[in-house]
Symmetry: C2
Subunit: 310 residues, 2 copies
Amino acid sequence: MLYLVGLGLSDETDITVKGLDIVKKASRVYLEAYTSILLVDQSTLVMRPVLTQFDESYYGRSIIVADREMVEFDSNLESESNELLRYAATEDVALLVVGDPFGATTHADLVLRARQLGIPVTTVPNASIMNGIGACGLQLYNFGQTVSMVFFTDNWRPASFYDRVRENRQIGLHTLLLLDIKVKEQTIENMMRGNKVFEPPRYMTVGQCARQMLEIEEEKAEGVYGPDSLAIGAARVGGRNEKFVAGTLKELCDADDALGPPLHSMVLLGRRAHELERDFARDFAIDKESWDSIWARDYGKQDAPAAPEA
Amino acid sequence: MLYLVGLGLSDETDITVKGLDIVKKASRVYLEAYTSILLVDQSTLVMRPVLTQFDESYYGRSIIVADREMVEFDSNLESESNELLRYAATEDVALLVVGDPFGATTHADLVLRARQLGIPVTTVPNASIMNGIGACGLQLYNFGQTVSMVFFTDNWRPASFYDRVRENRQIGLHTLLLLDIKVKEQTIENMMRGNKVFEPPRYMTVGQCARQMLEIEEEKAEGVYGPDSLAIGAARVGGRNEKFVAGTLKELCDADDALGPPLHSMVLLGRRAHELERDFARDFAIDKESWDSIWARDYGKQDAPAAPEA
């Protein structure tokens, strides 16, 4: 049996009682990502939060840190198995996953492979950023598709997020933006010398995200959003010290000090928002008067152009 | 301190270790909903799953079943407190909530009132149907807004869901449909006699939902979806016996026996779907050949009309 156990959003006590029971009984336990090693890779970044504190000794047993090869598959090699599935064919194997097991496409792929090999799979759900963001006060049913924002470089500034945000905003919905994480980066020098020395991880901040968004709007000038658009910056969602800051995109460019350490994420508000959402998020506002006046002008509209008869 | 503790989706072992610790230490523990009593009310139905099995004795302490008056507020009465907040002002009070604390607007309202009274609030996240539905194999970032489907009656057939579904489908996104629950209903006779006798709870099934959807499409004839549109029926999501059935809306009209007992929910697929989603859900298909051919014809399109340059 293969168990996929969600660890939740913040620390080792966010595991469920059901999940902890599996960890204690399984013959092998793999941990896919944790703070000090941060095995987050680009392909699965989109959906994966990172635990801010994590003490594996809490579970009272040895845990194998799973690297990419143990979990993922090379799509060029058909019918490939991997270490995880080889053991799971005959033993109870648990893979601990930050957030919820179905946050990353990697795990859907793993389940699919296990099925093909006739290995039973049990998943233990947990909170992920996709529902944890509800703590900012915006209602989850008012969110559209989720987008990811990557670090721009001098010659790579992918703007596909802009079209996704437009689609959401055209029908009045909020957009959750998941922010880039860079880990295991090497300097060119270390790479050339073959030194396995990695740069410190980099986490995109709400300020960086807001600036990149405004940069692309300035370039495209299609009015999908602007410096006055309301948004909520979120830090360490689901953790004991989670923090939200609400304001305009322009204000959020300078909100990183207020938000504190990673991980950050952001929500751009849709105009079909409810007054309970306004009041809840207002408490997080950098400038409450500006929040109120922009809201009154642009938000709280229950109909949207795409549904004229609604 | 007021603690809002998410219970997760299925049974009493879905609470997190952090949540259980709070339950053990709090001076008063309220439980907002559980199987045998089902305190689900219409206004908060949209976001709230219901535990399929729940044994409060598991927590090893007495738990107060919170009725509506203890948790909600009458919006006509300003600055109203309630039992929960009166105790929370001086003691550690925990309110256990099925799913995630921010699944229902009620809890956002409760947090807002607590803030106004200067009562600190801590929330403990957990899985909700909003992310648990990821177990059907559809990627959460491809979902649009969530809609609710209520039981039609002879003279009340609210069709506002139709516009929301259209908005999602126009940009190629999946739609999660949360299905109606009727509890504490009385017969007219019992109501007139003042007998506090309630009818057995009713849960909408995937079959009922699919039929209502097709009925409205037939009436409106705007082609938002049709009998051939692909969807996934879900039962007891997050539970040990969760079940998915995939097929056309027409096929799902008759899938209730295959899905089994409540709670049911449903996802209508958007055409901007990925082949991993196709392959994962195909295993749940009533008719795999029909699934494949309809998918090849209508799904897996990465661009959508609302974003021509995407």
